[in-house]
Subunit: 180 residues, 2 copies
DNA sequence: ACAGATCGTATGTAAAACAGATGAATTGTC
DNA sequence: GACAATTCATCTGTTTTACATACGATCTGT
């Protein structure tokens, strides 16, 4: 998914008023900036999310953490390996359940987290720069409304229903053929 | 990049006012819907873009097409393989330059394109549903402004400059270690 | 006509994600 | 209290995807 990660200049013509396109342009612009701002810590953006979760001291082992972040548990394993190797977090066996390994941020990890947070705020300002302050808050508010609604109907079967609702000639699932 | 394709529920807590987060939620919501709506044609979203380009009859061979869409030329090769196998486009040798292979949409390809276009318009309405008509046009306009500016400073060195500008402790490039 | 460049394709390689198996540790039941 | 079943984190193997490179075919220059 990301399904789409087109790099730079693409379809510059008549799709200027297309919502999906403009949304993608703005989002990718932010993602590019944000990625650059967190590229110094292992795991990139996901490493930051893990660090943030650890610094906020939220409960649960690394499995729960993986589920919350939407990554596979095996990914979380070597994500934490790199993060721990960098001295930002620690795996600490849970005294209550020694199978669990609590993920706690080190002193340096907490400092790095707050530092990166301020960076990301700058990234937001960078993206919103072309708007004057009044328009910025309007945009934030509208976006917040959209996000709230999008979250409520996020479940997968909903888009499936929408597909069947609009589909005309989709009998089966034509998976992509292997390259050979 | 996608760099980030987190699936569903993630960091539900204090980041509600975070621009990057809400932007990502809305964008992923649209992407999910749009992907579902174009999943019936080979290559998914990129297959649709190729089909759209072919149906609009834009000039140039498949190499130029690949560059415009931001995908590798080798990807374009088997992308067109699948698309041609499905009878949506044809590779036609350019009479002026027989190295080039013009990509033209078949009759069925054009029909599929227009059909998919209307579907994607429904997807837009679906995302913008929580807003009343006035707010929708406001949102579209603000987003258009942001996209225009983002496009102008998209070049990579710009974000690099921004990184160095804000970086505090980034001496070298700590590439991620291989898993083993 | 011949050297060099360009287009599309084929091939190999590296990185990333997912599924399944493994070992350690807990819970339940008898 | 012992034993089966479950859960957690990790390891291993497979698959997919993108990229880099090499190749044959074709064009353009001299």
């Amino acid at each position: 998914m990301p399904p789409t990660r087109p790099s730079s200049a693409e379809i510059p013509d008549a799709l200027d008023s297309d919502l999906g396109w403009t949304l993608g342009v703005v989002f990718r612009s932010y993602v590019r900036t944000a990625n650059a701002l967190v590229s110094h810590l292992p795991g990139g953006p996901r490493g930051y999310q893990v660090l943030a979760a650890a610094a906020q001291g939220l409960p649960g082992g690394q499995g729960a953490l993986a589920q919350r972040l939407g990554v596979d548990k095996t990914v979380m394993t070597y994500l934490l390996d790199d993060l721990e190797k960098a001295g930002l977090v620690e795996r600490r066996p849970d005294p209550a359940d020694r199978r669990n390994k609590r993920v706690v941020a080190t002193e340096r990890g907490r400092a790095t987290w707050t530092d990166t947070q301020t960076r990301l705020e700058h990234a937001e300002d960078h993206v919103l720069a072309p708007l004057d302050p009044a328009d910025r808050s309007v945009f934030r508010e509208l976006l917040r409304k959209l996000a709230a609604q999008a979250n409520s109907l996020d479940p997968v079967h909903d888009t499936c229903r929408l597909v069947e609702e609009l589909a005309s000639d989709v009998p089966a699932k034509p998976r992509r053929s292997p390259r050979g």
